[in-house]
Amino acid sequence: MSPRERLREGATRIPSGCAIAGIMDRTGRRHDGDDILKSIALMHDRSNGLGGGFAAYGIYPEYAELYAFHIMYESKEARTETEAYLDAHFMCEKQERIPTENVRGIQDPPDIWRYFAAPHPVKLNMSGLDEAEYTMQHVFRINASIDGAFVASSGKNMGAFKGVGYPEDIGEFYRIRDYDAWLWTAHGRFPTNTPGWWGGAHPFTLLNWSIVHNGEISSYDANRRYVEQYGYDCALMTDTEVITYLFDLLVRRHGFSQEMAAHIMCAPAWDVIDKMEPERAAFETALRCVYSSALVNGPMSVILGSDEGMLALNDRLKLRALMAGEKGSMVYLASEQAAIEIVCPDVENVRSIDGGVPFVVQLDEVAARKARKADESPSDPVASCVPPARVTVACNEKREV
């Protein structure tokens, strides 16, 4: 039976365990993929060779204003069809095959291309959508309707490199050491029954979002049916996909900060809310009422990558391991502490992420911008308390460094 005939992500729901890691330089300085590769490789046993991948931010500075589509093709026809589709809706500045290396253990890779493109201005205008929504809908359409084509990533100045294999082999395959990024995230997958499909590997991405996730959320179908009301098509049936859509809905469409989106997804328990000051309790109650179906339940540890930085989140009960550490401007996250220490032996301030409390790492530049904005509107005490260039823990009262 060929892999294509077996049930893939999207045809069935596949529970997975995983390893995740993230490395970020808050100054925005870029580093090659060597460290993230070492970090995820150390957690080899948390994967089973059926999926691995990386997301990298800041890798295409020369095309920073264009959407970088990483697209995997299983056939020539798929590529022809997709490129025709892209031509119809986008203006492509550049397209090329993503350079890869032959690696033992990586078999039958698809044909992987990247395109740097901007939405077709007339079509964008006619659609009545903003640029991001326009792009997102076309990505959905390619993934859903062009057989054998899968958009692995679609953000600006970022990309996902993923496939079937152990993450360290995938990294070698994509030559990720050749890329420089200020934020790297990585994922090693332990699916229970998937044949392994390149499109189904993680990170999952949408526009500038990328998500790596370890766990199996038990609220999946409640979350899926919630976001599907708003046009998100959960085609892959994975946790990562639905969590990404929740972030996109809450942040891009509803205007929440990433921290607040994470706070909604891991809302405080009612008995905690009941002890709050009435005004605060009313606020939390309103959030839980309106967004009750966005509550994410069950074991999860997530690293969300975006153009602001990274955000780590554990489920409310802390059912999954996730460690953080830092050294200078570098911040490290990993499922296991050893995976941090292997790349930064003198890492400081190592601790585990609290359950249900978003752990936010922002680019200095982003933090400073938010602080300035807060200074202009002093009624925003949370943002004004955020010290620039600091790892901040939002949504609970402690602000750790």
Binding site: I217, F256, S293, S379, D380
Partner: protein, 501 residues
């Protein structure tokens, strides 16, 4: 005219056990039992027995059991004994057949074809004894997105009115008149204790129950009995009853003999007159009229209370519910055809409407297809028999459930289907003082509280097994359900996979 009707039940008395204490005789308002001094034993008039089982429970020596009347039919699957008995009764009386409680016929009970999931290996089950396990639910309408001031941690605009349920179970509408004040009081006390709500039905709010107003859903139905502005403002939520699962499409009729002084005052109608609720609301002949009533009620209560609209589960329930949401209903209640009633024409009860499970699944899906499910709350009613049914209903898409039959059974009801006679031996569906006295609300409330607490524990156990610690994550989570013995179409409508898939 000779009555051709056969008795339905036979009283079995174990004469070795019977001590002729007379408890059964004094317990039966139908006058079935008689201690016959001459014969030196207790006799039974079987024909009068309705199988309410009061005597069976009360007998100090377990000397009693009720059985079916042993008469056999002719073996025909077509002309069953029941079918012939119905004809005999109508030939005798020329009347519409009346019965009570929900649809008892052999239609599929989909709850019994839906199995629940539990976590194994890939994610852990959660121990409700160790971790918080949240069953709190709010009902009301919500905006699609909440506008907030993140810095100040305040909402930019207040949420529309919501009611808070500590358990996802409310008590459905049963009016004072159809049930006794003690029955209603039992539910009111239980609702207060449990942090949930009872429903006044279309019978007004008795002055003794005004103190439970914060836990009352005040119903406005087609007869508008007991409705004034004070009544509307006395409750926590208002419910417009369009239809009832047990008798879709028809109204209600409370006979004059049940309208005693108390009932008359509470319903605001003269004593001894029949209380007739018309089949439709005569000010609602279409959806735009419903909108007017909803907003009239909101105006009358200064937009401080959610307004629910209850419909019977009928063929087009999904589209109707969608229209209700757009007409301004904050809470949509879907009442399935196994839901109970104090009195309904048997032919309507047995043949009109559709199962709750299918209606609920269809309504939830339709609201989602239209992107408005998160703007309204959805309550499922109509024969929720156990905590597992509650879990199934929530997983299909309900925010909460209404249950009445189960609560009545906790109070003593044995579903004898004879509510309409007004001779309820359990003191529930009667206004006779010597019978209503049998239901001490203190005991009643305790039993209902026990039941709902037990259910809630079970719900928490089941949620924990699924790896879920808040009922929010169970709502609409149909992957937690699998069908057994259902065909493709049924699975499609229910939106669940078959077991093994």
């Amino acid at each position: 005219m000779l009555d051709y009707l056969l008795p339905r039940y036979k009283v079995l008395r174990d004469n070795d056990q019977c001590v002729q204490c007379g408890v059964c005789e004094r317990s039966c308002a139908n006058e079935v039992h008689r201690v016959d001094e001459e014969l030196g034993r207790v006799t039974a008039d079987h024909k009068k027995c309705v199988n309410c089982q009061r005597c069976v429970v009360m007998c100090p020596t377990q000397a009693l059991a009720i059985t079916r009347w042993p008469q056999v039919g002719n073996g025909s699957n077509n002309w069953t004994l029941q079918a012939m008995q119905d004809i005999a009764k109508q030939a005798q009386t020329g009347a519409v057949l009346l019965s009570s409680m929900g649809n008892p016929q052999h239609y599929p009970i989909y709850w019994d074809h839906l199995l629940l999931n539990a976590s194994q290996v890939t994610n852990p089950s959660i121990d409700p004894l160790r971790e918080p396990m949240e069953t709190r639910v709010f009902l009301g309408s919500r905006p699609e997105a909440l506008k907030v001031n993140e810095g100040a941690r305040t909402a930019a605009a207040p949420l529309p009115p919501q009611i808070k349920l500590d358990v996802p179970i409310m008590f459905s509408a049963m009016s004072f008149g159809s049930v006794s004040l003690n029955a209603q009081k039992s539910l009111a006390m239980a609702a207060e204790e449990l942090g949930t709500y009872f429903n006044t039905g279309e019978g007004g709010l008795h002055k003794d129950l005004e103190r439970y107003g914060d836990h009352a859903v005040v119903q406005v139905a087609s007869g508008r009995f007991g409705v004034d502005v004070r009544y509307l403002n006395a409750g926590a939520m208002i419910e417009i009853k369009i239809g009832q699962g047990a008798k879709p499409g028809i109204g209600g009729h409370l006979p004059g003999e049940k309208i005693n002084e108390e009932v008359s005052q509470t319903r605001m109608i003269p004593q001894g007159t029949d209380a007739i609720s018309p089949a439709p609301h005569h000010d609602i002949y279409s959806i735009e009229d419903l909108r007017q009533l909803i907003y009239s009620l909101k105006e009358a209560t200064r937009y401080a209370k959610p307004v629910a609209v209850k419909i019977a589960a009928v063929h087009n329930a999904a589209a109707i519910a969608s229209g209700m949401a757009r007409a301004g209903a904050d809470v949509i209640v879907v009442d399935g055809f196994r839901g109970g009633t104090g009195a309904a024409p048997a032919r309507i009860r047995d043949n009109v409407g559709i199962p709750l499970e299918l209606a609920l699944a269809a309504v939830d899906q339709r609201l989602r297809d239209e992107g408005i499910r998160s703007r309204v709350s959805l309550v499922a009613a109509g024969s929720i028999r156990s905590s597992a049914d509650v879990v199934r209903a929530v997983a299909l898409g309900a925010d909460a459930v209404y249950c009445a039959s189960a609560a009545l059974i906790a109070l003593g009801c044995h579903q004898c289907q004879d509510c309409a006679s007004g001779k309820c031996n359990w003191g529930i569906a009667t206004q006779r003082p010597e019978l209503t006295r049998r239901l001490n609300p203190e005991i009643g409330a305790e039993r209902v509280v026990n039941l709902v607490r037990a259910w809630n524990h079970e719900i928490q156990e089941m949620m924990g097994g699924m790896g879920i610690n808040a009922i929010d994550s169970l709502r609409g989570n149909r992957l937690m359900l699998r069908g057994v013995g259902l065909n493709e179409k049924e699975l499609e409508i229910l939106g669940v996979k078959h077991a093994g898939e």
